[in-house]
């Protein structure tokens, strides 16, 4: 496999080809998750969060294990999956945590602990839970919160629950789960859930 520079890849293409392992600057690493089996083959998979070129977002790099050998296969880059602010303020946070017990329609992978990508920048909080399916990575759930309002979008259940600061609460149709690779946090959110402009 050909190694390429991540900043070159991200500048020239929307996402790296899955057969190319990106070369990354290690000072740009923000968080990592591994040790969990997200494709149900009995082997651990991996996800990395890295700072974007401009420092205003995190990109996600994903790996899925090969069922026969257990070796990791690079499955792509999702640019600007989460908001970020560089350098970090003391109150800013980011991590890869784990989510579970999501709503799940027939055919989705429901029994595994899914990675939740977490970012809090100023008043904007977003956690994006991703899952691996037969057609690739998809967004399973998004939770966002800002200025006392919050929104939980459960794509696998097809619903989004919006709770505004004034206690107005309603449910909207979330639409189908978006694919991970082209997902951009700013445009990926339904308009009802865009509480804050973000960084």
């Amino acid at each position: 496999m050909r190694a390429i520079a991540l900043f070159v890849t991200l500048a020239s293409a929307p996402c790296a080809s899955a057969d190319e392992i990106p070369q990354i600057d290690i000072t740009r690493l923000a968080a990592e998750a591994s040790g969990q089996d997200w494709n149900g083959d009995g082997h651990a998979d991996r996800l990395l969060l890295v700072w974007s070129d401009k420092g205003d977002a995190f990109d996600a790099l994903t790996f899925i294990s090969d069922a026969a050998t257990g070796t990791l296969r690079f499955t792509g880059v999702s640019q600007a999956i989460l908001p970020a602010r560089w350098p970090l303020d003391r109150s800013d946070l980011h991590a890869v945590a784990y989510s579970s017990n999501l709503g799940c329609n027939p055919g989705c992978v429901a029994d595994y602990t899914l990675p939740g990508l977490y970012s809090k920048v100023g008043d904007t909080f977003i956690e994006i839970t991703v899952g691996w399916t037969a057609s690739g990575w998809e967004i399973a759930e998004v939770q966002t919160r800002a200025e006392g309002s919050d929104c939980v979008i459960d794509y696998r259940a097809g619903t989004a629950k919006v709770d505004w600061l004034d206690d107005t609460e309603y449910t909207i149709d979330s639409g189908p789960p978006p694919a991970l690779a082209p997902y951009w946090w700013r445009e990926g959110l339904p308009k009802e859930c865009r509480f804050a402009p973000g960084p």
């Binding site: 392992i21 290690i26 968080a31 082997h43 990395l48 401009k54 420092g55 560089w86």
Partner: protein, 209 residues
């Protein structure tokens, strides 16, 4: 003025790339990342910016290395300050089989990162502590324990307790290895070896998961 200042901040990661050659590795060699997150400030040098530790697979893919990166107080830009190339052994077949795993956790004693290596097959778990905020980090301690299942839950039996420096509740420079034959090996491990000089083969074999 304000606009140019903001631009300078947003472009800082790219600027840092231009200032010093970045240390780059293939993304599939990253095994663990320990930075500022919801669990930890991770500010070893106390400058208000998060520092960073990264576990990597060695170029030869037979060892686990550790990069320590410390922030510049004025800018928060991270620079590599330490690289230990063969901190722990790596066995690709055992990793792929789900036996071996590597991770960071946080020390209960000083909240600094602990490097962990676990074997599901043997039940052995190794923790290595260091002092990342020091200008010359050393290996502080290495502890290996074995998980023994009980009727209800489990207990952790010590296998190796090696303290290169005096830690709270332990004497200075003590090493105790519980050998497979039931005997115990006690020795003076000497002063804490520099992290960059440490090689996992320096460790008695029973200590490795």
């Amino acid at each position: 003025m304000r606009r140019s200042f903001l631009a300078a901040i947003l472009l800082a990661p790219a600027t840092a790339l231009a200032d010093a050659p970045p240390v780059t590795i293939p993304a599939d060699r990253v095994l663990g990342v320990h930075g500022k997150n919801v669990y930890s400030e991770n500010d070893w040098n106390g400058d208000g910016h998060g520092d960073l530790a990264v576990l990597v697979l060695s170029e030869t893919r037979d060892a686990v290395g550790l990069y320590l990166m410390t922030s510049t107080p004025e800018t928060g830009v991270l620079a590599v300050t330490e690289y230990a190339s063969a901190l722990l052994p790596y066995d690709a077949a055992r990793v792929a089989a789900g036996d071996l795993s590597y991770s960071f956790t946080i020390s209960d004693e000083d909240y600094e990162p602990l490097i962990q290596m676990r074997s599901a097959a043997t039940g052995l778990s190794l923790s290595l502590s260091t002092n990342p905020g020091s200008e010359a980090p050393v290996v502080f301690s290495i502890r290996t324990s074995r998980q023994v299942p009980l009727e209800s839950g489990h207990r952790m039996d010590p296998v190796c307790e090696i303290f290169f420096v005096e830690l709270l509740g332990n004497g200075p420079q003590t090493a105790k290895v519980h050998l497979p034959d039931g005997n115990t090996l006690d020795y003076d491990p000497g002063p804490g070896p520099r992290l960059t000089d440490w090689h996992y083969t320096d460790l008695p074999a029973p200590c490795l998961p």
